[in-house]
């Protein structure tokens, strides 16, 4: 809430400061703030600019100097919100916002050997007006949105896998059926059913692996495009699509299994059919 007030009321460059004589030692030097690159771009600000900052729209605020322009970290909770952010000295923010000697939260770094649950219990035992939580627990609570998105992605993934499985199965069946005359010739030459089946299955497996390798390459290229697009859209370094070794392994394995299954199904049908029937006689 505090931040929202500030973001809403960050005024344009303080024109009154232009041409102002240098401040004397007695006069208080404006303090510096850091702003994010999106705000700098939108308000046409650069390092060294003076701005007036206040907690209420249209009210007189403190003059500060833009000391740094920072690129925000990859925080999924901020994606698509389009908020602009300012970092200030704590005491100045408290004064500007009329917040008194208050903070919203403390972050505590414990020593490596510390017993965290015990430490939290001790803090909560003596706490007055606040409660200590483990960072991990807060992360779980605040990540509900992403859990929902993740479940949605998983469901979409399952539907996509079903669609691509049917597609792959269909293509492999067609591919093997195209070979009916070759298979009939091999059978008439005396090649055993098992050998014919093995040949068909190996062919199906090779096609599936080659296809999935091409699919991985296309997927990787699409992933680059997706990241480039969404990173530009939301002005975030967050990676939206990551091709990981387990993902690649899953895709290749699934395609191999389906390819072999299709090969087995189609070749079983073909080797059970008399060779002359395969020739259409």
């Amino acid at each position: 809430m505090l931040l929202a007030f500030l973001l809403a009321s960050l005024l344009a460059q303080d024109s009154s400061s232009v041409g102002r004589p240098p401040t004397t030692a007695v006069e208080r030097q404006p303090r510096t703030i850091a702003i994010d690159d999106a705000l700098a771009e939108r308000a046409h600000l650069k390092v060294g600019d003076r701005v007036s900052i206040s907690a209420g729209a249209g009210t007189v605020g403190d003059t500060v100097i833009v000391g740094a322009i920072v690129r925000r970290g990859a925080d999924p909770s901020e994606v698509a919100r389009g908020d602009l952010r300012v970092w200030m000295h704590l005491d100045q923010l408290q004064a500007v916002a009329g917040y008194g000697d208050r903070v919203d939260r403390f972050a505590i770094a414990a020593t490596p050997a510390a017993d965290i649950p015990q430490l939290i219990d001790r803090v909560n035992g003596i706490a007055f007006g606040f409660k200590a939580y483990r960072s991990r627990d807060i992360a779980v609570e605040t990540s509900r949105t992403f859990q929902v998105v993740s479940r949605f992605h998983r469901a979409i993934g399952i539907i996509t896998i079903v669609a691509s499985s049917v597609f792959l199965l269909c293509i492999m069946v067609l591919k093997v059926e195209e070979r009916r005359r070759d298979i009939a010739a091999l059978r008439l030459m005396g090649i055993s059913r098992a050998t014919v089946m093995r040949a068909v299955i190996i062919e199906a497996a090779v096609v599936a692996v080659l296809g999935s390798a091409l699919g991985v390459a296309i997927g990787w290229a699409i992933s680059l495009v997706v990241n480039w697009h969404y990173q530009a859209l939301y002005q975030t370094p967050l990676a939206f699509s990551i091709v990981t070794p387990p993902t690649v392994a899953f895709a290749v394995s699934l395609s191999l299994v389906l390819g072999i299954a299709a090969g087995v199904m189609a070749s079983l049908r073909l080797v059970r059919t008399p060779p002359l029937a395969l020739f259409g006689r």
């Binding site: 729209a57 949605f152 669609a163 067609l174």
Partner: protein, 394 residues
């Protein structure tokens, strides 16, 4: 005749046809879901905002309604200013606050709205009566369940909890007079409403403040013009019309819309590719048969129509199956997305609209026709004599 030949060709390879129809069905289901996702959220949100007829909302400057704890000071002055515009018909100021219901050793927290019952647009009364007296309170089922309370019970309500001193700024006994459903409330949200003056009286810090104003404009008036006027007259508020609210939600949920566009396009392409591959293989296998047909005088257009018909038949059968499948998967996907924290119960990400179904069906049939064009062109341009000779040798 053409239909009979196309049917015979598809029945000849039953397994392959069934697999192709299944493939198209899954792609069609995905396409329908994505069309529903792309248009449903926006439509559902628009319906939700318009459900009580308030076209404009005023929130603290730079925020969306109830996006932050910020409030707007000077309610009376703002109402007086708004009343100057003859296009403004009704104004409903709403104050939001956190409440604690103290029941013995239990402290159940929830949110409360301070409203004027004669113009409120936040809830529907399910049973009992509205907050006609200052000591009345209406609550949703979630809060009543948590408390084990019923209409007629008296609750000890507190607001303005100060964690430093562990005290409340206001505490009052209120009688539950009705069960309500909050239109913009999430399913897991414990909410109550009372008269605004009651909440203001309990919450010392919020005197003459409101979190939100809802404005109903005169019938026939241009809401956008009224919004522009409010923006000029009241610099400390952000006036949001339905169109701007939808634009802001669109911006926040653009990820889902773009995802829908990409996955919809991929589904359509997969369906197209599947039908093209199948019909092309089928034409290659029947090269001799097609050459014979051409040799006995069957026209090129007849062959083209038959092949295109095969593609359309597979796409149509897959589409019909897929639309049914799509409705089931849409409901499942909607259940997943409905679990978004704080999402109003009434929002549907996948809203079925006949237009969406017709769009998906139309796209699939066009894609079926497109899928049949290449194999049909191949079939029509087969050299008759050479194809017959190749068939005879084989």
């Amino acid at each position: 005749m053409r239909a009979a030949l196309a049917q015979a060709s598809l029945i000849r390879h039953r397994a392959r046809t069934v697999l192709a129809v299944l493939g198209v069905a899954v792609a069609a289901a995905m396409l329908l879901d994505m069309v529903m996702l792309a248009t449903g959220m926006r439509e559902s949100f628009r319906e939700l905002l318009l459900s009580r007829g308030f076209e404009i909302r005023l929130a603290p400057k730079g925020t969306l309604p109830f996006d932050t704890d910020a409030t707007i000071p000077g309610v009376s002055a703002i109402i007086a200013t708004l009343r100057k515009n003859p296009d403004v018909r009704e104004i409903s100021p709403v104050l939001g606050a956190s409440i604690h219901v103290l029941a013995g050793n239990r402290d159940v927290s929830g949110s409360a709205l301070g409203i004027d019952p004669s113009v409120q647009g936040d809830y529907e009364l399910l049973s009992g009566r509205d907050v006609t007296t200052p000591d009345a309170l209406v609550a949703n089922d979630h809060l009543l369940r948590q408390l084990g309370a019923r209409v007629g019970d008296t609750l000890n309500i507190a607001t303005g909890y100060d964690p430093q001193t562990r005290t409340y700024s206001g505490q009052r006994k209120l009688v539950v007079t009705g069960r309500v459903k909050f239109i913009y409330g999430a399913s897991d949200q414990s909410s109550a409403a009372m008269r605004r003056e009651t909440l203001v009286g309990m919450n010392g810090q919020s005197r003459d403040r409101a979190s939100l104003f809802m404005v109903r404009v005169r019938s026939g008036a241009d809401a956008e013009q009224v919004r522009d006027w409010i923006d000029k007259q009241l610099p400390n508020v952000t006036a949001i019309s339905i169109a701007t609210a939808i634009a802001q939600v669109d911006e926040r949920l653009s990820y889902f819309r773009q995802l829908a566009l990409i996955l919809g396009a991929v589904s359509l392409f997969v369906g197209f590719l599947l039908v093209t591959t199948l019909v092309t293989v089928s034409v290659n296998e029947r090269a001799g048969e097609i050459a014979v047909m051409r040799a006995i005088g069957v026209s090129r257009s007849h062959v083209v129509e038959q092949i295109v018909l095969e593609g359309v038949a597979i796409s149509f059968a897959g589409a019909v199956l897929g639309l049914a499948l799509g409705l089931v998967t849409a409901r499942y996907l909607n259940t997943i997305l409905s679990a978004f924290p704080g999402l109003p119960m009434a929002i549907d990400f996948f809203l079925f609209q006949p237009r969406a179904a017709w769009s998906a069906l139309g796209l699939l049939i066009v894609s079926g026709i497109g899928a049949g064009i290449y194999p049909a062109w191949r079939a029509a341009s087969l050299p008759i004599a050479e194809s017959l000779r190749r068939e005879a040798i084989a």
